[in-house]
Symmetry: C2
Subunit: 439 residues, 2 copies
């Protein structure tokens, strides 16, 4: 793979997502090249003001204020469209396609409104327009539906596909706050725009739903036919009453196939509180897809942000590079990385693993036992997070002590358990279960 | 696309998953061809006893008891290996590769134990060996990690990747039952094998973890280095104590990158009960992947069963067919279906949509109002699921009535709301939020 020159990428717009993408490409350059079979480099980027400070290293990138230079640059094979909006973005994307460039975009409005035309031109010119980052940020939902679920007749999908709205609804529920109050905080935190219309009125979600519905049901993009209702009318009372009835209110995009046709709708929705989707909180996104063969599946992750969105942009870049570089049957290496580029990083033995622990110790119910046990932990510098000592059952003088510890090496814990089991008052083998916070 | 002959597939083993796959290919033949650009047909299948009754229509399939006929058939382009086990399966897969066939397999043990050798032969012969169905059934987790997350340095992944074990743990928690008791029921329900060792001792999960770790971290398959601990020692007391402390016990496969090397381990694990993964119940599977750019993402769905596993098998078939059929840049159509094969199925207006509803109605607190409201529902044949009438607040004679309805058309509901708002005792616009059970 080192024989090939890196693929050169031109970027339109080096803002939040552009710099997130640049930072990923530079930080993970080695892993990405091992996966793609070839390096990927940003060679040129356009922006309104080349003098403005950027959140990424631009020292190896040619900066220009003329976007046309990016889409016509003969060295550039792939153009990233990250300027947003629909007018200028559309012109530049079409121009890039005319010049034979593949295009990767994070622009949901552009695809929802002009995708039919853009894809037709791309098809005619034999280039790809990739748009994983346009829906649900870094979650690979486009790939899951277009490729992972290709066996299925899809029945419906429902998604939390706007992080700002979900943050507001989560705060309203958790803290009993009012919509306007939370919106102001979201704006201060940078989760909501100064003009929040696109987010809270459901327009952004409708753009994304348009795209999801097309790839799920095989219909043209039809943004104008999506029913859209925002969350601005919801009160904290509604949130509380819904909870009382066993439901949570989420702002969902729903696409459903019925015998009469397709439903495409974005609106606040009560869903049973036990559903995983009801437990997707804060700025996170998730999409449930109900399909005839697979049944329900769910895809969850960060729906916005510099690097989460950059993750989807780079995945699209790797997809394009794999197609350009490999034989079709080796497009994706069997083990994700090129066969010659596997790593010999060692697999650790359990002794070297550290986790927190749950321990259940059965002891004779008499004074001093707990002190003996905790002394052993102290000797091994194991700190205790919680202890429950259960009451003895009738006529039984054996009581269980349940302990949660902080993180400690398995080797250290094994030694402590050995010593505990040798205490006279300890009557059984210690039950040990590892604990992970998954954070 | 109709110009091309369907791709012919040979199947080794027409049992549960084989027939699930055959049923999907036949039921969804049109949608699959519109996605793949070409039809996909099973032309030949081998089995121990061709006279045994099958759970799928075999009338157009040549049935044979000689597996060699399948892997050497000159008309077959793709071989599905669905016989399970590792010895015969390995021989047949290698033979199929020698004969230039692409291979799709659902066999986790085969890939975990012999994948390194199989992939090398496939590479040399220029064919693909696809194995999405080998991990987490129908969840496209292999595709998500190999392609969707290709931008990321993966930090760790943790999965519920054995449905039998998760069913047992869920029942132990929900019903306070003992392990042995639930295992017997799982065997009666067909969720657990007569010999449950592979499932409850974590061997099946270790096979899957081996595969996930390789594609996440770019290391060779090393099943023999996975630490494996089963769930047979867990008691209902442990499950209850964990709950008391705010945790649930799940049988997780965990792969983690540390500065010293990789941890690969399958064992019972306490996880905080608020995590989505802690709420994955019954036979369902889910995998969380923590990646440096995207952060955490989660993939949830059915991990076993005829059609869920068949969904992944067919997705692999479509992947292979797309690579065989299309130019690299058009491998996956922009809108998932071939540009000439989009559907003109209509998008419905909201009037034609049916959902359940939450309504909040503010009324003057006097006799007869609720009767008037419910009469209007009766007139429109709208049935009521639940009503909450709140107490009036001090000095305010207006009370909110909250109503959940069963499913009804939007048009019908709009008419009812109009009439309710005309009632003299109703003081405000009716708040209406749609309700979906997502089932």
């Amino acid at each position: 793979m080192s024989a090939l020159e890196p693929v050169k990428v031109g970027v339109l717009g080096l803002g939040t997502v552009g710099c997130g993408t640049a930072n990923i490409l530079s930080r993970n350059a080695d892993e990405i090249a091992r996966r793609a079979g070839r390096g990927i480099e940003i060679s040129i980027a356009s922006m309104r003001d080349t003098k403005k400070q950027r959140a990424c290293d631009t020292s190896s990138i040619t900066l220009t204020e003329d976007s046309n230079k990016v889409v016509t640059d003969p060295d550039v094979e792939i153009v990233l469209e990250l300027i947003g909006g629909t007018d200028e973005a559309k012109d530049l994307v079409l121009k890039a396609i005319e010049h034979g460039k593949h295009v990767v975009t994070a622009n949901k409005a552009l695809i929802a409104l002009h995708g039919n035309e853009i894809f037709q031109r791309a098809q005619e010119k034999g280039v790809t327009v990739a748009f994983e980052a346009a829906v649900a940020g870094g979650i690979p939902i486009i790939k899951a539906i277009r490729e992972g679920l290709s066996a299925n007749a899809i029945q419906w999908l429902a998604g939390i596909i706007n992080g700002t709205g979900n943050f507001i609804l989560t705060e309203m529920r958790d803290k009993g706050r009012d919509f306007d109050d939370v919106l102001k905080e979201a704006q201060q935190l940078g989760y909501a725009e100064a003009d929040p219309t696109f987010d809270v009125e459901g327009i952004d979600a409708a753009h994304k739903l348009t795209i999801l519905a097309s790839i799920a049901f095989g219909v043209p993009l039809q943004f104008e036919k999506v029913y859209t209702e925002g969350i601005t009318e919801l009160t904290r009372d509604d949130v509380a009453y819904a909870a009382e009835l066993g439901y949570r209110i989420k702002h969902l995009g729903i696409a459903k196939r019925t015998t009469k046709g397709l439903e495409l709708r974005v609106h606040p929705t009560l869903i049973p509180h036990r559903r995983l989707l009801a437990n997707v909180d804060g700025v996170m996104n998730a999409v449930v897809v109900k399909a005839d063969a697979l049944g329900p599946s769910l895809y969850y992750g960060a729906g916005a942000g510099a690097e989460p969105t950059g993750s989807a942009v780079v995945a699209d870049l790797v997809d394009v590079v794999r197609a350009l570089t490999s034989d079709p049957e080796n497009r994706v290496p069997h083990l994700a990385f090129q066969p010659g580029a596997l790593s010999d990083i060692p697999i650790l033995s359990m002794d070297d693993v550290s986790t927190a622990y749950y321990l259940r110790i059965h002891v004779q119910d008499r004074a001093g036992v707990l002190a003996d046990v905790t002394q052993i932990f102290a000797d091994h510098t194991i700190s205790i997070e919680a202890i429950i000592q259960k009451e003895p059952q009738a006529n039984i003088s054996i009581v269980p002590i349940v302990i949660l510890t902080h993180e400690v090496s398995e080797q250290n814990m094994n030694q402590a358990i050995d010593e505990i089991e040798k205490l006279e008052a300890v009557t059984n083998k210690v039950m040990r279960i590892r604990l992970e916070t998954l954070s």
